[in-house]
């Protein structure tokens, strides 16, 4: 990844950014998020199939540097999050320096090598392998074998279910939730300063890990992602209980596409779906 | 035994102290409990509104006046909001007493200075009455109390009693701008009034409680007046849940405020990590 390191060093040497959020490899060989503050630290940057994290989450979490932009290494799915944050007025395009990576897929299981079997499902339907919004574009596109979309299969199965069967499916899934809120914390679009689950006057969501508390948390989080989820699947990747959270957000994204021809985070100049109203909006699906 | 299950208490009286502070006078529903309940000045309890939750307050009444158990609370969150809606005769829960207490025995035979700001008078009031009810065992007593404005002063009905007591010097102050046209007390922030009153440090113990900003500026004044770090005592108001040294919320370093505190000397506070 010399190209990345060279660009990063150049960025620091010419004061184009104050920090660069990227990936590094630790001494155990794990690829993980890393923040470079100077050109020496830029040497540690890397990018590979194991660069799974959506680093855009840090854009709203980190304190804004006083002396320059935030540089960020971003794959296509991360770019969609950056675009979405710009669309939602959370960050300004001028405050970030985007080092985009042509992406050749990322792994599902971080402990194993990249292969067709070990590729995230999101890569199958990715439309931004070459990002569409950047200051630098690095890396070469290579062909790779797309994974099976096993999620689509499950979605079809769920759709064929009766409401009661679906309820039971989700009850057993949400029953596992331990409320660690990792799904929320890794989500680049969960940037509320105070999450609704933290509000106690009134207590909208019960904090207990019980059927009621778990349903209200997971469903309300899903609803808050309606037409907003950019499909990075980070919530599902980090869920310690393997709850298939993206089934809900992906489905809602599909509805947004079908009903409004809208996909969030694709174009920073497009008004957001949730933030705009048109009298010609399709209402047929509201029952 | 279920250590998390409170006893039931009934609200016997409600006093509106200030626009946002009330005092409840409580009695255990179980008469035996009411007669046997004992605590020491400085200890706290967990008060429940069932369906809303629990809240931590010091016991504001003195152990020498066991007729009622009193707590004063300021509207802050979910539970205090619910408490404000309660009426005389309503039932609450109470667990306690918890924590350590003011060193009453150590204070005997000494001068005592009480310094409080705002609702910080609640725990101090408990020990003030404790001391006043055993008046002969203590030497000179100085009480310095301040609030943002005249309407923010709590226990106004008792301050008068303190002022009238022989051998008790009581100074009441309000922040500049908080005075009324007929205000006869001092005007100024608590630390500067303490400096002005300049209580003697010799054979004296000072008990200080108030908002963090008041405490922060009062400690240096006390040091300047020659008080040793061990003779300055305060009580901490960390966020707590269980009160039993289990839930981990009130930890400062290896200290459990709910067990090792809430009463600490200035010296002890200096040894703790800066996390309160």
């Amino acid at each position: 990844m010399n190209q990345l390191i060279e660009s990063a060093k150049d960025i620091f040497q010419n004061n184009k950014a104050a920090i660069i959020i990227g990936y590094t490899k630790d001494k155990s060989g794990r690829t993980k998020p890393f923040i470079a503050h100077n050109s020496d630290e830029a040497e540690k940057l890397t990018f590979n199939h194991h660069a799974v994290n959506n680093l855009a989450v840090y854009l709203t979490r980190l304190e804004k540097p006083k002396d320059g932009k935030i540089g960020i290494v971003a794959k296509g799915c991360d770019i969609r999050a950056i675009n979405a944050l710009i669309q939602e007025n959370q960050i300004r395009r001028d405050d970030v320096l985007i080092i985009a990576m042509n992406c050749n897929g990322v792994v599902e299981n971080q402990n194993e090598e990249f292969s067709k079997e070990n590729t995230q499902i999101k890569c199958k339907y990715c439309q931004l392998r070459t990002p569409n919004n950047y200051d630098f574009l690095l890396g070469e596109l290579e062909d790779f074998e797309l994974p099976e979309d096993s999620q689509q299969e499950l979605m079809n199965k769920l759709e064929a279910m009766t409401p009661e069967e679906r309820w039971n499916f989700w009850e057993s899934q949400f029953g596992n939730c331990i409320k660690c809120y990792a799904c929320r914390q890794v989500c680049p679009l969960c940037y509320c300063e105070q999450c609704i689950v933290e509000k106690s006057m009134p207590q909208w969501i019960e904090t207990s890990s019980t059927t009621r508390g778990n349903f209200s948390w997971n469903l309300i989080r899903a609803f808050h992602q309606a037409g907003r989820c950019i499909g990075c699947h980070e919530c599902e990747r980090v869920c310690p209980m393997d709850i298939p959270l993206t089934l809900l957000t992906r489905k809602m994204g599909m509805i947004a596409m079908k009903e409004f021809n809208y996909k969030h985070g694709m174009n920073i100049n497009e008004p957001t779906l949730i933030g705009t109203y048109s009298t010609s909006d399709n209402e047929d699906f509201i029952k | 035994m279920n250590i998390y299950k409170p006893e039931l208490v009934e609200i016997k009286e409600i006093i509106d102290e200030t626009p946002d502070i009330k005092t409840f006078r409580l009695k255990f529903k179980d008469e035996k409990l009411q007669n046997n309940f004992s605590f020491k000045a400085g200890q706290f309890a967990e008060y429940s509104v069932f369906g809303e939750g629990e809240c931590t307050f010091c016991i504001a009444s003195s152990p020498t006046r066991p007729e009622f158990l009193e707590c004063s609370f300021k509207l802050a969150g979910k539970v205090t909001k619910a408490m404000r809606k309660l009426k005389i005769g309503d039932t609450m829960g109470l667990r306690g007493p918890y924590g350590n207490s003011f060193p009453l025995e150590e204070m005997k035979g000494k001068n005592v200075v009480f310094i409080a700001g705002g609702i910080g008078l609640a725990p101090v009031r408990c020990i003030i009455w404790n001391v006043l009810d055993l008046r002969s065992e203590f030497k000179d007593i100085t009480i310095i109390y301040g609030a943002r404005s005249v309407s923010d002063l709590v226990y106004k009905y008792e301050i008068q009693d303190w002022q009238n007591m022989p051998g008790v010097k009581t100074v009441v102050t309000v922040d500049p701008g908080g005075e009324t046209s007929d205000w006869k007390g001092e005007i100024g922030f608590v630390p500067s009034i303490v400096e002005k009153v300049a209580p003697k440090n010799e054979n004296t113990i000072a008990i200080i409680c108030g908002p963090p900003i008041m405490i922060k500026y009062t400690f240096p004044v006390m040091e300047k007046l020659g008080f040793s770090e061990d003779s300055i005592i305060t009580t901490l108001e960390n966020r707590m849940k269980c009160g039993l040294g289990k839930c981990g919320r009130c930890n400062i370093g290896s200290v459990y405020v709910c067990k090792d505190g809430p009463v600490f000397t200035y010296h002890q506070l200096k040894e703790l990590p800066d996390e309160f």
Partner: protein, 345 residues
């Protein structure tokens, strides 16, 4: 205490008999996510090779949500009702030594001064049958916190695999002895040899840091750059705390079940959440993630040791394996040890 030779089929028979007597049996789930309840003896897993479950077995002693009492308002009269005692007799099969060790560590905080009977009753009713561990990955560090793949601490009975489907069953606690005596077929063949632990040591995960040095440094250095380094990457979820066998912080909340009734619940909570220490006034003593991460490390490797003479960590590595941003706590502690070594020189 005595040891016996048992076979896998005897262990299965034990499980079958327990099930028939209405005991609850828990074992690691096949996907090694957590400990699951078994309905048949064929489900039990006694596998020393397997990865520790993603979530520890802590929830069997300290559930993620536990009712403390119910309240009921009937005709304006309020009554409080204790929940049913956790009465089910339980056996955990195939716990890891790094799971079992957490029980006595947790017992300290749940029993100093006030006794938490919710925790105690569950411990009392549970038999922990652990198995020597032959798994290790880059996240494991039990040997750095005074444990090992053969630690029997916290177990009632301990299995050491010898040959295929055969185990040495060591009786570790009096509770374990009393339990196993009820099942004579398990104690037919006494193991009279000696098990050579020294021989095994070569395969133990190597020590990653020296606990004493780490503790010493933590005791002396509250403010340090290292907390910012980790704090700026840590996203502040509680996955580390919730998968951890020893993290025990909790919240207490009320829940209404209707207009006139409800319950008070003890829920897992974590010092990694900003809300954990935030006062009603808005003041927060640990206002950023670096302070919260510092608290986590200090609580585990400094404060708890000072207070209860135990390390609040069994080196199971779950927090590292599960961390969304791959923060490796052992690497943080290694760095701290380096700082301490540098300070000595």
């Amino acid at each position: 205490m005595k040891s016996f030779i048992v076979t896998r089929s005897q262990i299965n028979s034990l499980a079958a008999e327990l099930l028939s007597k209405n005991w609850s049996i828990f074992t690691q789930s096949e996907d090694r996510k957590r400990f699951k309840q078994c309905e048949s003896e064929s489900e039990i897993s006694v596998d020393g090779n397997g990865k520790p479950s993603d979530v520890s077995f802590k929830e069997l002693f300290f559930p993620k949500s536990e009712t403390l009492f119910y309240f009921n308002r009937d005709n304006e009269e309020l009554t409080l009702l204790d929940p049913a005692e956790p009465g089910t007799k339980t056996v955990i099969f195939g716990a890891k030594p790094c799971d079992a060790a957490s029980v006595p560590v947790l017992s300290k905080v749940f029993n100093w001064d006030y006794n938490d009977e919710f925790f105690n009753k569950r411990v009392e009713n549970t038999i922990v049958i652990s198995i020597a561990c032959s798994y290790s990955d880059e996240s494991c560090f039990c040997t750095s916190v005074g444990l090992s793949p053969f630690s029997e601490i916290g177990s009632d009975l301990f299995l050491i695999p010898t040959e295929k489907d055969s185990f040495i069953l060591k009786i570790v606690s009096e509770k374990g002895e009393k339990f196993i005596n009820e099942f004579p077929f398990m104690i037919q063949k006494e193991f009279e040899g000696t098990f050579d632990l020294e021989n095994q040591k070569a395969s133990f995960p190597k020590e990653k840091f020296d606990f004493a040095s780490v503790k010493e440094w933590l005791g002396k250095n509250f403010k340090d750059e290292i907390w910012n380094e980790v704090g700026e990457l840590c996203l502040g979820c509680a996955q580390c705390a919730y998968v951890c066998p020893t993290c025990h912080c909790f919240d207490i909340v009320d829940e209404n079940c209707g207009v006139s009734c409800g319950r008070r619940v003890k829920n897992w909570d974590s010092c990694q959440f900003g809300l954990f220490t935030k006062h009603a006034s808005g003041h927060n003593p640990r206002e950023d993630q670096s302070r919260r991460y510092r608290q986590r490390v200090n609580h585990k490797f400094n404060y708890y040791k000072q207070r209860f003479d135990e390390i609040l960590c069994t080196g199971c590595g779950r927090c590292t394996r599960g961390c969304p941003v791959s923060i490796d706590i052992a690497q943080v502690l290694e760095k701290i040890q380096c700082k301490q070594s540098a300070a000595i020189v």
